[in-house]
Amino acid sequence: MMEHLALEFRNIQDRYCTVCSSVASEFAPKTKAHKSSTDNNLYQMESCPSVKNILLLDSEGNRVAVKYYSDEWQTNSSKEAFEKAVFTKTQKTNARAEAEITMFENNIVVYKFAQDLHFFVTGGDDENELIISTVLQGFFDAVGLLLRGNVDKKEALENLDLILLCLDEIVDGGIILETDANVIAGKVASHSIDSGAPLSEQTISQALATAREHLTRSLLNV
């Protein structure tokens, strides 16, 4: 009797498993996890071109400077995961002469490399690729101007203030502010003295800053 009972129970379990596998074998289409579309920063998504993030990473995928405009990535770890994934995916491509492009988690990522620096700009998947690419080119060229052609990680870190100001001048809260590299670099480099400030307050460092600005200007005019 007990044996019979056990068998019956086993049988139910067995059929349970069989049904499970038959349910699984319906081969339902993979539905990608629906990402929350409540991007407060990107409310204008529908009509206004927008940028989700700008990344400047080194040749090992570490951050040099990054700026996120979308709350698609809420935590630092999700940001780092995104950076790692994008870096790994693009690492082996040759994006030195021309900017390259890829799709990644429903985003368009346009990227370009110089020495040991990797530049990325991300936009939504229904964004005009060429607009994203223009933003990247603006960023890339502006950094080139600001670092006087020495575009590498060391130089970038030593002039991190310029890089951060540069990011600030390109995009404001996801909206493109400026894409012309000369204008961006010009705005960042205008470390001139406040005209209202008395001369006596000028320090050596300010004088140096002025000199630097003149140098940049002369570079820009070339």
Binding site: F9, E26, K32, Y43, C48, D125, L157, D172
Partner: protein, 884 residues
Amino acid sequence: MAQYVKKDDDRDEEEYSPFLGIEKGAVLQEARVFNDPQLDSRRCSQVITKLLYLLNQGETFTKVEATEVFFSVTKLFQAKDIGLRRMVYLIIKELSPSSDEVIIVTSSLMKDMNSKTDVYRANAIRVLCRITDGTLLTQIERYLKQAIVDKNPVVASAALVSGIHLLQTNPEIVKRWSNEVQEAVQSRAALVQFHALALLHQIRQNDRLAVSKLVTSLTRGTVRSPLAQCLLIRYTSQVIRESSMNNQSGERPFYDYLEGCLRHKAEMVIFEAARAITELNGVTSRELTPAITVLQLFLSSSKPVLRFAAVRTLNKVAMTHPMAVTNCNIDMESLISDQNRSIATLAITTLLKTGNESGVDRLMKQITNFMSDIADEFKIVVVDAIRSLCLKFPLKYRSLMNFLSNILREEGGFEYKKAIVDSIVILIRDIPDAKESGLLHLCEFIEDCEFTYLSTQILHFLGLEGPKTSDPSKYIRYIYNRVILENATVRASAVSTLAKFGAMVDSLKPRIFVLLRRCLYDNDDEVRDRATLYLNTLGGDGSVVETDKDVKDFLFGSLDIPLANLETSLKNYEPTEEPFDISSVPKEVKSQPLAEKKSAGKKPTALGAPPPAPTSTVDAYERLLSSIPEFSTFGPLFKSSAPVELTEAETEYAVNVVKHIFDKHVVFQYNCTNTIPEQLLENVVVVVDASEAEEFAEVATKPLKSLPYDTPGQTFVAFEKPEGVPAVGRFSNVLKFLVKEVDPSTGEAEEDGVEDEYQLEDSEIVAADYMLKVGVSNFRNAWESLGPDFERVDEYGLGPRESLSEAVNAVINLLGMQPCEGTEVVAANSRSHTCLLSGVYIGNVKVLVRLSFGVDSSKEVAMKLAVRSEDESVSDAIHEVVAN
């Protein structure tokens, strides 16, 4: 400048980083220099940079730390150094101070807003608008309005962009700036125009007329900035979308503008316009041509971004207008070898969509070379595309199936292998001719398969399909090999499959028993138990020769109770003297798993073409209906329709109906959802008035006992109708129920309820409900084999139609039949078209239809309808459907 000695070792490179060994505590200490009476601007700048570096690396400051830094930073407004001030602006934005802290910097920022230095003004506006709240905004509104029309473009842009952000939080204030913004739209500075246009549109976006006016005036004028031009294109297509319904015959409004943009000098604008044209509703091939032409030029660009953009757009176009894209096929083929694998994959999948039957073989050859050097994720996309191609051209199954089996043998990860196996299984299901070869490919695959999941899936599938083939015995070897070679899970699954062969194929039974007996000595108990169970029930003792039907049902029939219910019952079962009784498990489905919620607004990604929906819903419906005693006598279910919504979106109660067609009955299944948390509905029924459906008589209703908030439930109404007659009719529906108030905090419902009713939209039974979409793999053969005995041919005039393809789709939908061999797609500009349809009519009568369409210059469409079927009356019935 310092001299650095270059070292070879890369790791030493790190030493040069100015931030090496940086530590938050130390930097916070350093930040005290902000409080020095004699400010050293350069040093302060450096410290801010370090703070920003820390934040950028993901470091977080505690509330106290952030407040402290913020307060000392505010002191730096004394310094007159522009560079330092810029860094101050940056760090204030990064620290995002709380509203009581904001007050401290407000006056300094307002002073900067009115400074003579433009850099200060622009940045102060951006910072202030970023950190401000509504109350402060009224104070600075005047300055912002001035800034919008400032002659310095940087200042104007800063104010406009801030306006775009503020519009989300304080729309009423920003809307007052319309005049200034309008003035800024005329600005000579390119980006000011862009930002002004974006803001103006957002201010007016709810006023259709105003947007339309804006677009009308700007499309005539000159918009300088390419970005602004792109915006204008987007707004224009929005206006076109909203106004397209009005004038059907004439020119599409603003199309000329979009087409003109294709000749713009900026590639960004050209592409935006081309994309806008391809996305127009019901775009005609004439309208598409110029857009396709520029995209085709982009395909051979040296810039990867441009190639990608073009191929991605063409890929989308190929889904709806494959013929329009065929001109690009040569360029597309050269992209298969593109360095950028995303581009190559998009090119391949586009080619697979646009290719015709004769080009398939050549294409497959190219893809074979390509597959070896792309990543798995791209391969999956290609496999999906090949599956849909195969369903489109069933005659080509041989080469496509070979391709799939070849790639199945190559290296690959689980997801990729699963995609291939899924595809083969779908092809086996949908193309009967492909079954035997497909099964053998799967058998070969499991001979060397490292994924347990896939092995068990395939074994299960073999058990279902294998016994029905012409020579089931050849699969036994593959299956028994699993018992010898694999892990316990696979062995157990192989035992079940063997038993299925034994149960279904009597001639194999003795041999199966021999094999099963060997499994009795397996070292895994699950395998042994299964073998014992099957041997005993199938009569392995040699006593019973014919396997009882009950035993088959018991062993292999589908479980007719919901798994979730069984699971709860098993959990609640306490081991006592009384055995577990499976009939005690409730059969009522608690939630409706079939109501798939479409993820709203998310378009399918370009790389992943949506796979065809699974066809398993019918099985689930059949199981559901047969579990209801009232309906169990209706016989086999012929067809279940897709759910039809009977309520508007976002109403109190959401109801949709699924029509189940039986030989002599029709059952309406109403899927109801209660969207009010404060209500519990009881005794929910749908009262159906069938006065406009004379041939139907109501026979049964099954009310829904209880419908709590957000848990879908079903109620049913059944009708009797004359057997075999495709009766049609219209039914009006009213939802009736008892409402009980629910206390949302406790979730308890009150005792007493109120009777209430809710008007639903009408439902209809139409001719197409009696037709099953069933494809045939070779239409010509099928047509010949049916013979001309019951052929009925007639001609019809369909009157003036918008386009030929619209007419073709209308007839397909009317008949509810499956288009064959891709003939539902009408070639662009063609004057005539032939469409092949197949289906199964109620009473399991096979029907084939050949439709020939012709259209004349006044868009009058004429149609010749030829029907062949196994039954004369059915052929006539099809004609009646069209004639009415």
